[in-house]
Amino acid sequence: MLVRKILALALALALCLGTLSLAQAETEYPPRPQGTVADLAGVLGEKTITDMEALSQRLEDETKGHIYVLTRHFLGGMNVQAYADKVFEVWELTGQDALLLMVIGEESYALSLGGKAKAGMPAESQTSLLATHFRSAFLSRQYDEALSDLAVNLGQAMAKAQGAALNASGLFGQAAIQSTPQPQSVSDYWYGMFARDDYDAREDDDEAFWRTWQDEWEYEETRINWRSLIIWALVIYFLFFRRKKSRRRR
Protein backbone atom coordinates (compact mmCIF):
# COMPACT_ATOMS: atom_id res chain seq x y z
CA MET A 1 0.00 0.00 0.00
CA LEU A 2 2.78 2.39 1.03
CA VAL A 3 4.84 1.43 -2.02
CA ARG A 4 1.86 2.14 -4.28
CA LYS A 5 1.41 5.56 -2.68
CA ILE A 6 5.09 6.37 -3.09
CA LEU A 7 4.93 5.33 -6.75
CA ALA A 8 1.82 7.46 -7.28
CA LEU A 9 3.54 10.43 -5.64
CA ALA A 10 6.67 9.94 -7.75
CA LEU A 11 4.55 9.77 -10.92
CA ALA A 12 2.66 12.94 -9.94
CA LEU A 13 5.94 14.70 -9.22
CA ALA A 14 7.44 13.60 -12.55
CA LEU A 15 4.35 14.80 -14.45
CA CYS A 16 4.39 18.09 -12.58
CA LEU A 17 8.08 18.71 -13.29
CA GLY A 18 7.59 17.70 -16.93
CA THR A 19 4.77 20.21 -17.35
CA LEU A 20 6.79 22.92 -15.64
CA SER A 21 9.86 22.45 -17.83
CA LEU A 22 7.70 22.46 -20.97
CA ALA A 23 5.99 25.66 -19.85
CA GLN A 24 9.36 27.20 -19.12
CA ALA A 25 10.71 26.26 -22.56
CA GLU A 26 7.68 27.88 -24.19
CA THR A 27 8.29 31.09 -22.27
CA GLU A 28 11.97 31.18 -23.06
CA TYR A 29 11.94 30.15 -26.72
CA PRO A 30 9.28 31.50 -29.04
CA PRO A 31 7.42 29.08 -31.30
CA ARG A 32 8.58 28.56 -34.87
CA PRO A 33 6.94 31.17 -37.09
CA GLN A 34 4.52 30.30 -39.91
CA GLY A 35 6.87 31.88 -42.42
CA THR A 36 10.55 32.48 -41.88
CA VAL A 37 10.49 35.70 -39.84
CA ALA A 38 9.56 36.04 -36.17
CA ASP A 39 9.86 39.78 -35.59
CA LEU A 40 9.11 39.82 -31.87
CA ALA A 41 10.85 43.16 -31.38
CA GLY A 42 8.76 44.72 -34.17
CA VAL A 43 11.68 46.42 -35.85
CA LEU A 44 11.33 45.12 -39.41
CA GLY A 45 9.23 46.64 -42.15
CA GLU A 46 6.49 44.68 -43.90
CA LYS A 47 8.29 44.84 -47.23
CA THR A 48 11.46 43.42 -45.70
CA ILE A 49 9.52 40.54 -44.16
CA THR A 50 7.73 39.79 -47.44
CA ASP A 51 10.99 39.92 -49.40
CA MET A 52 12.68 37.77 -46.78
CA GLU A 53 9.96 35.12 -47.19
CA ALA A 54 10.38 35.24 -50.97
CA LEU A 55 14.16 34.97 -50.76
CA SER A 56 13.90 32.05 -48.39
CA GLN A 57 11.48 30.34 -50.76
CA ARG A 58 13.89 30.81 -53.69
CA LEU A 59 16.68 29.42 -51.54
CA GLU A 60 14.55 26.41 -50.71
CA ASP A 61 13.89 25.83 -54.41
CA GLU A 62 17.64 25.79 -55.05
CA THR A 63 19.04 24.10 -51.95
CA LYS A 64 16.16 22.93 -49.72
CA GLY A 65 17.51 25.36 -47.13
CA HIS A 66 15.79 28.31 -45.44
CA ILE A 67 16.97 31.46 -43.75
CA TYR A 68 14.99 32.11 -40.57
CA VAL A 69 15.04 35.40 -38.70
CA LEU A 70 14.21 36.07 -35.06
CA THR A 71 14.27 39.51 -33.46
CA ARG A 72 13.99 40.10 -29.71
CA HIS A 73 14.49 43.07 -27.44
CA PHE A 74 16.53 41.28 -24.75
CA LEU A 75 17.76 37.83 -23.78
CA GLY A 76 17.84 38.34 -20.01
CA GLY A 77 21.55 37.61 -19.64
CA MET A 78 21.70 34.57 -21.92
CA ASN A 79 24.61 34.20 -24.33
CA VAL A 80 23.44 35.30 -27.77
CA GLN A 81 25.08 32.46 -29.73
CA ALA A 82 23.91 29.83 -27.23
CA TYR A 83 20.38 31.22 -27.46
CA ALA A 84 20.44 31.17 -31.28
CA ASP A 85 21.71 27.58 -31.31
CA LYS A 86 19.01 26.56 -28.84
CA VAL A 87 16.25 28.19 -30.90
CA PHE A 88 17.63 26.40 -33.97
CA GLU A 89 17.22 23.15 -32.06
CA VAL A 90 13.78 23.97 -30.58
CA TRP A 91 12.45 25.00 -34.00
CA GLU A 92 13.78 21.71 -35.38
CA LEU A 93 15.52 23.37 -38.31
CA THR A 94 17.34 21.19 -40.83
CA GLY A 95 21.01 20.89 -41.76
CA GLN A 96 20.61 23.22 -44.75
CA ASP A 97 18.92 26.00 -42.73
CA ALA A 98 20.29 29.17 -41.18
CA LEU A 99 18.91 31.25 -38.33
CA LEU A 100 19.75 34.88 -37.75
CA LEU A 101 19.03 36.25 -34.27
CA MET A 102 18.91 40.03 -33.77
CA VAL A 103 18.79 41.25 -30.16
CA ILE A 104 17.86 44.89 -30.41
CA GLY A 105 18.15 46.12 -26.81
CA GLU A 106 21.46 44.37 -26.27
CA GLU A 107 22.85 45.41 -29.66
CA SER A 108 24.01 41.89 -30.35
CA TYR A 109 23.32 39.24 -32.96
CA ALA A 110 24.22 35.67 -33.85
CA LEU A 111 24.03 33.36 -36.81
CA SER A 112 23.31 29.68 -36.30
CA LEU A 113 23.73 27.26 -39.20
CA GLY A 114 22.75 23.65 -39.72
CA GLY A 115 25.42 21.01 -40.22
CA LYS A 116 25.37 21.00 -44.02
CA ALA A 117 25.27 24.79 -44.31
CA LYS A 118 28.11 25.08 -41.79
CA ALA A 119 30.25 22.64 -43.78
CA GLY A 120 30.03 24.93 -46.81
CA MET A 121 30.63 28.06 -44.78
CA PRO A 122 33.29 27.87 -42.05
CA ALA A 123 33.21 30.09 -38.97
CA GLU A 124 35.64 32.62 -40.50
CA SER A 125 33.40 33.10 -43.53
CA GLN A 126 30.38 33.62 -41.28
CA THR A 127 32.22 36.21 -39.18
CA SER A 128 33.43 37.96 -42.29
CA LEU A 129 29.94 37.92 -43.83
CA LEU A 130 28.39 39.44 -40.70
CA ALA A 131 31.15 42.03 -40.39
CA THR A 132 30.87 43.09 -44.02
CA HIS A 133 27.16 42.90 -44.67
CA PHE A 134 25.41 43.31 -41.34
CA ARG A 135 27.27 44.78 -38.37
CA SER A 136 27.53 48.40 -39.41
CA ALA A 137 23.90 48.85 -40.49
CA PHE A 138 22.67 46.86 -37.49
CA LEU A 139 24.57 49.02 -35.02
CA SER A 140 23.31 52.17 -36.70
CA ARG A 141 19.80 50.72 -36.21
CA GLN A 142 19.02 50.31 -39.89
CA TYR A 143 17.56 46.90 -39.25
CA ASP A 144 15.83 46.48 -42.62
CA GLU A 145 19.00 47.39 -44.50
CA ALA A 146 21.14 45.17 -42.31
CA LEU A 147 18.87 42.18 -42.80
CA SER A 148 18.45 42.73 -46.54
CA ASP A 149 22.17 42.99 -47.17
CA LEU A 150 23.02 39.96 -45.08
CA ALA A 151 20.15 37.80 -46.34
CA VAL A 152 21.08 38.26 -50.00
CA ASN A 153 24.76 37.56 -49.40
CA LEU A 154 24.15 34.72 -46.98
CA GLY A 155 21.64 33.11 -49.33
CA GLN A 156 24.03 33.37 -52.25
CA ALA A 157 26.88 31.94 -50.19
CA MET A 158 24.69 29.05 -49.02
CA ALA A 159 23.56 28.34 -52.57
CA LYS A 160 27.12 28.57 -53.91
CA ALA A 161 28.35 26.13 -51.25
CA GLN A 162 25.93 23.60 -52.66
CA GLY A 163 26.81 24.29 -56.27
CA ALA A 164 23.66 26.31 -56.96
CA ALA A 165 22.94 29.96 -57.62
CA LEU A 166 20.41 32.20 -55.89
CA ASN A 167 18.67 34.89 -57.87
CA ALA A 168 17.76 37.77 -55.57
CA SER A 169 16.63 40.19 -58.25
CA GLY A 170 13.49 42.14 -57.49
CA LEU A 171 13.91 41.66 -53.74
CA PHE A 172 14.98 44.23 -51.15
CA GLY A 173 15.27 46.94 -53.86
CA GLN A 174 17.93 44.75 -55.39
CA ALA A 175 19.14 47.53 -57.72
CA ALA A 176 20.54 49.24 -54.64
CA ILE A 177 21.70 46.18 -52.77
CA GLN A 178 23.92 43.93 -54.80
CA SER A 179 26.01 41.20 -53.38
CA THR A 180 29.58 42.41 -53.17
CA PRO A 181 31.56 40.75 -55.95
CA GLN A 182 34.62 38.84 -54.92
CA PRO A 183 37.93 40.39 -56.04
CA GLN A 184 38.90 38.94 -59.41
CA SER A 185 42.60 39.33 -58.93
CA VAL A 186 45.17 40.68 -56.51
CA SER A 187 45.15 44.07 -58.25
CA ASP A 188 41.36 44.22 -57.75
CA TYR A 189 41.90 43.57 -54.08
CA TRP A 190 44.39 46.42 -53.75
CA TYR A 191 42.17 48.59 -55.85
CA GLY A 192 39.33 47.90 -53.40
CA MET A 193 41.49 48.83 -50.45
CA PHE A 194 43.18 51.98 -51.69
CA ALA A 195 40.53 53.43 -53.94
CA ARG A 196 37.88 53.34 -51.22
CA ASP A 197 38.65 56.73 -49.63
CA ASP A 198 38.63 58.49 -52.96
CA TYR A 199 35.37 56.79 -53.86
CA ASP A 200 33.69 57.68 -50.56
CA ALA A 201 34.72 61.31 -50.81
CA ARG A 202 32.84 61.90 -54.04
CA GLU A 203 29.29 61.59 -55.30
CA ASP A 204 28.81 57.96 -56.23
CA ASP A 205 25.70 58.38 -58.33
CA ASP A 206 27.19 60.78 -60.81
CA GLU A 207 27.77 58.89 -64.05
CA ALA A 208 29.97 61.59 -65.56
CA PHE A 209 32.14 61.49 -62.50
CA TRP A 210 32.41 57.75 -62.85
CA ARG A 211 33.52 57.93 -66.44
CA THR A 212 36.11 60.64 -65.69
CA TRP A 213 37.27 58.84 -62.62
CA GLN A 214 37.64 55.55 -64.50
CA ASP A 215 39.58 57.26 -67.29
CA GLU A 216 41.79 58.93 -64.74
CA TRP A 217 42.35 55.68 -62.98
CA GLU A 218 43.20 53.81 -66.18
CA TYR A 219 45.60 56.58 -67.16
CA GLU A 220 47.10 56.55 -63.71
CA GLU A 221 47.40 52.77 -63.82
CA THR A 222 49.15 52.88 -67.22
CA ARG A 223 51.47 55.61 -66.00
CA ILE A 224 52.24 53.61 -62.91
CA ASN A 225 52.97 50.58 -65.08
CA TRP A 226 55.39 52.52 -67.31
CA ARG A 227 57.02 54.12 -64.33
CA SER A 228 57.46 50.82 -62.54
CA LEU A 229 58.84 49.25 -65.74
CA ILE A 230 61.46 52.00 -66.03
CA ILE A 231 62.38 51.70 -62.36
CA TRP A 232 62.76 47.93 -62.63
CA ALA A 233 64.87 48.31 -65.78
CA LEU A 234 67.18 50.74 -64.01
CA VAL A 235 67.50 48.45 -60.98
CA ILE A 236 68.40 45.47 -63.17
CA TYR A 237 70.81 47.58 -65.19
CA PHE A 238 72.65 48.84 -62.11
CA LEU A 239 72.74 45.46 -60.47
CA PHE A 240 73.98 43.35 -63.35
CA PHE A 241 75.09 45.24 -66.40
CA ARG A 242 76.93 48.04 -64.67
CA ARG A 243 78.89 45.55 -62.56
CA LYS A 244 79.82 43.55 -65.64
CA LYS A 245 81.04 46.72 -67.33
CA SER A 246 83.22 47.66 -64.39
CA ARG A 247 84.69 44.13 -64.34
CA ARG A 248 85.56 44.39 -68.04
CA ARG A 249 87.30 47.69 -67.36
CA ARG A 250 89.48 46.02 -64.72
Binding site: L13, H73, F74, G76, G105, E107
Partner: protein, 180 residues
Amino acid sequence: MKFKTGWAFAFMVILVVGSVIFGAFRGWSDERVRVNETYAGLESMLQTRVESAYNVLAVAKRHVPETDDAYRRVAQDLNGLEAKASTLAQKAQANESLSRDAAQLLDNMAQLDSVKNDSRDNMYVTNYLPQMLSESEAKTAGAVYNQAAAEFNSRMKGTFSGWIARNLLGIKPAEEFKAQ
Protein backbone atom coordinates in the same frame (compact mmCIF):
# COMPACT_ATOMS: atom_id res chain seq x y z
CA MET B 1 -8.49 -9.93 35.80
CA LYS B 2 -7.41 -6.48 36.92
CA PHE B 3 -3.95 -7.17 35.61
CA LYS B 4 -5.25 -8.17 32.17
CA THR B 5 -7.50 -5.10 31.98
CA GLY B 6 -4.55 -2.87 32.88
CA TRP B 7 -2.43 -4.40 30.12
CA ALA B 8 -5.24 -4.12 27.64
CA PHE B 9 -5.74 -0.46 28.56
CA ALA B 10 -2.02 0.27 28.27
CA PHE B 11 -1.91 -1.52 24.95
CA MET B 12 -4.84 0.52 23.72
CA VAL B 13 -3.18 3.77 24.82
CA ILE B 14 0.03 2.77 23.04
CA LEU B 15 -1.92 1.98 19.88
CA VAL B 16 -3.79 5.29 20.01
CA VAL B 17 -0.60 7.28 20.64
CA GLY B 18 1.25 5.31 17.95
CA SER B 19 -1.48 5.89 15.40
CA VAL B 20 -1.61 9.59 16.25
CA ILE B 21 2.16 9.87 15.80
CA PHE B 22 2.15 7.82 12.59
CA GLY B 23 -0.81 9.81 11.23
CA ALA B 24 0.89 13.11 12.09
CA PHE B 25 4.12 12.01 10.45
CA ARG B 26 2.43 10.81 7.28
CA GLY B 27 0.07 13.76 7.01
CA TRP B 28 2.66 16.48 7.59
CA SER B 29 5.30 14.76 5.43
CA ASP B 30 2.88 14.52 2.51
CA GLU B 31 1.89 18.13 2.94
CA ARG B 32 5.52 19.23 3.09
CA VAL B 33 6.21 17.37 -0.15
CA ARG B 34 3.32 19.18 -1.79
CA VAL B 35 4.70 22.54 -0.62
CA ASN B 36 8.14 21.64 -1.97
CA GLU B 37 6.62 20.75 -5.34
CA THR B 38 5.51 24.36 -5.78
CA TYR B 39 9.08 25.61 -5.23
CA ALA B 40 9.97 25.05 -8.92
CA GLY B 41 7.28 27.62 -9.78
CA LEU B 42 8.88 30.20 -7.49
CA GLU B 43 12.28 29.52 -9.05
CA SER B 44 10.98 30.23 -12.53
CA MET B 45 9.35 33.43 -11.27
CA LEU B 46 12.66 34.46 -9.70
CA GLN B 47 14.28 33.80 -13.06
CA THR B 48 12.09 36.54 -14.56
CA ARG B 49 13.53 38.90 -11.90
CA VAL B 50 17.07 37.87 -12.85
CA GLU B 51 16.30 38.47 -16.54
CA SER B 52 14.79 41.88 -15.80
CA ALA B 53 17.91 42.90 -13.86
CA TYR B 54 20.15 41.77 -16.73
CA ASN B 55 18.07 43.77 -19.20
CA VAL B 56 18.19 46.91 -17.06
CA LEU B 57 21.97 46.60 -16.81
CA ALA B 58 22.31 45.98 -20.57
CA VAL B 59 20.71 49.35 -21.30
CA ALA B 60 22.35 51.13 -18.35
CA LYS B 61 25.80 50.06 -19.58
CA ARG B 62 25.38 52.33 -22.60
CA HIS B 63 24.66 55.42 -20.51
CA VAL B 64 26.28 55.19 -17.07
CA PRO B 65 29.65 53.85 -15.96
CA GLU B 66 29.77 50.50 -14.18
CA THR B 67 31.09 52.32 -11.13
CA ASP B 68 27.83 54.28 -10.80
CA ASP B 69 26.24 53.68 -7.36
CA ALA B 70 22.78 52.76 -8.64
CA TYR B 71 24.30 50.50 -11.32
CA ARG B 72 26.43 48.72 -8.71
CA ARG B 73 23.47 48.18 -6.40
CA VAL B 74 21.42 46.55 -9.15
CA ALA B 75 24.39 44.35 -10.07
CA GLN B 76 24.69 43.38 -6.41
CA ASP B 77 20.98 42.48 -6.20
CA LEU B 78 21.37 40.40 -9.33
CA ASN B 79 24.25 38.48 -7.74
CA GLY B 80 22.13 37.89 -4.63
CA LEU B 81 19.30 36.47 -6.73
CA GLU B 82 21.57 34.27 -8.81
CA ALA B 83 23.87 32.95 -6.06
CA LYS B 84 23.19 29.28 -5.48
CA ALA B 85 24.40 29.50 -1.90
CA SER B 86 21.82 32.18 -1.00
CA THR B 87 19.01 31.14 1.33
CA LEU B 88 15.44 31.88 0.38
CA ALA B 89 15.38 34.76 2.87
CA GLN B 90 18.50 36.26 1.25
CA LYS B 91 16.93 35.88 -2.18
CA ALA B 92 13.79 37.57 -0.93
CA GLN B 93 15.92 40.41 0.40
CA ALA B 94 17.72 40.75 -2.95
CA ASN B 95 14.36 40.63 -4.72
CA GLU B 96 12.98 43.49 -2.61
CA SER B 97 16.15 45.54 -3.06
CA LEU B 98 16.05 44.98 -6.82
CA SER B 99 12.64 46.64 -7.10
CA ARG B 100 13.90 49.72 -5.28
CA ASP B 101 17.39 49.90 -6.85
CA ALA B 102 16.32 49.20 -10.43
CA ALA B 103 13.60 51.85 -10.17
CA GLN B 104 16.22 54.31 -8.89
CA LEU B 105 18.64 53.46 -11.72
CA LEU B 106 15.91 53.84 -14.35
CA ASP B 107 14.84 57.18 -12.85
CA ASN B 108 18.42 58.42 -12.93
CA MET B 109 18.82 57.30 -16.51
CA ALA B 110 15.58 58.95 -17.60
CA GLN B 111 17.11 62.31 -16.61
CA LEU B 112 20.18 61.82 -18.82
CA ASP B 113 20.40 63.64 -22.14
CA SER B 114 21.95 60.60 -23.77
CA VAL B 115 18.76 58.67 -22.96
CA LYS B 116 16.38 61.51 -23.79
CA ASN B 117 17.99 61.88 -27.22
CA ASP B 118 17.84 58.19 -27.96
CA SER B 119 14.28 57.22 -28.83
CA ARG B 120 14.89 53.48 -28.52
CA ASP B 121 16.65 53.57 -25.14
CA ASN B 122 14.23 56.20 -23.87
CA MET B 123 11.40 53.80 -24.65
CA TYR B 124 13.23 51.02 -22.79
CA VAL B 125 14.00 53.22 -19.77
CA THR B 126 10.62 54.89 -19.40
CA ASN B 127 8.30 52.17 -20.58
CA TYR B 128 9.54 48.68 -21.42
CA LEU B 129 11.86 47.96 -18.49
CA PRO B 130 9.68 49.44 -15.71
CA GLN B 131 6.79 47.35 -17.04
CA MET B 132 8.97 44.24 -17.15
CA LEU B 133 10.16 44.88 -13.58
CA SER B 134 6.69 45.39 -12.17
CA GLU B 135 5.28 42.34 -13.98
CA SER B 136 8.09 40.12 -12.76
CA GLU B 137 7.66 41.50 -9.23
CA ALA B 138 3.93 40.75 -9.26
CA LYS B 139 4.52 37.25 -10.64
CA THR B 140 7.10 36.50 -7.95
CA ALA B 141 4.90 37.83 -5.17
CA GLY B 142 1.97 35.76 -6.42
CA ALA B 143 3.94 32.52 -6.71
CA VAL B 144 1.98 29.59 -5.28
CA TYR B 145 4.93 28.58 -3.11
CA ASN B 146 4.71 31.74 -0.98
CA GLN B 147 1.10 31.05 -0.06
CA ALA B 148 1.59 27.29 0.36
CA ALA B 149 4.60 27.71 2.65
CA ALA B 150 2.89 30.38 4.79
CA GLU B 151 -0.26 28.26 5.17
CA PHE B 152 1.73 25.12 5.98
CA ASN B 153 3.69 26.91 8.70
CA SER B 154 0.67 28.59 10.25
CA ARG B 155 -1.27 25.30 10.41
CA MET B 156 1.74 23.51 11.80
CA LYS B 157 2.00 26.06 14.60
CA GLY B 158 -1.71 25.99 15.38
CA THR B 159 -2.39 22.24 15.73
CA PHE B 160 -1.41 19.52 18.18
CA SER B 161 -0.37 17.12 15.41
CA GLY B 162 1.75 19.94 13.98
CA TRP B 163 3.42 20.38 17.35
CA ILE B 164 4.18 16.62 17.44
CA ALA B 165 5.52 16.70 13.86
CA ARG B 166 7.71 19.71 14.59
CA ASN B 167 9.04 18.78 18.00
CA LEU B 168 9.02 14.98 18.07
CA LEU B 169 9.24 13.89 14.44
CA GLY B 170 11.71 16.46 13.12
CA ILE B 171 9.54 17.80 10.28
CA LYS B 172 10.74 21.35 9.78
CA PRO B 173 8.54 24.29 8.83
CA ALA B 174 8.77 25.36 5.16
CA GLU B 175 11.30 28.10 4.40
CA GLU B 176 9.28 31.17 3.56
CA PHE B 177 10.13 33.61 0.77
CA LYS B 178 10.25 36.60 3.06
CA ALA B 179 12.97 39.17 3.62
CA GLN B 180 14.19 39.26 7.23
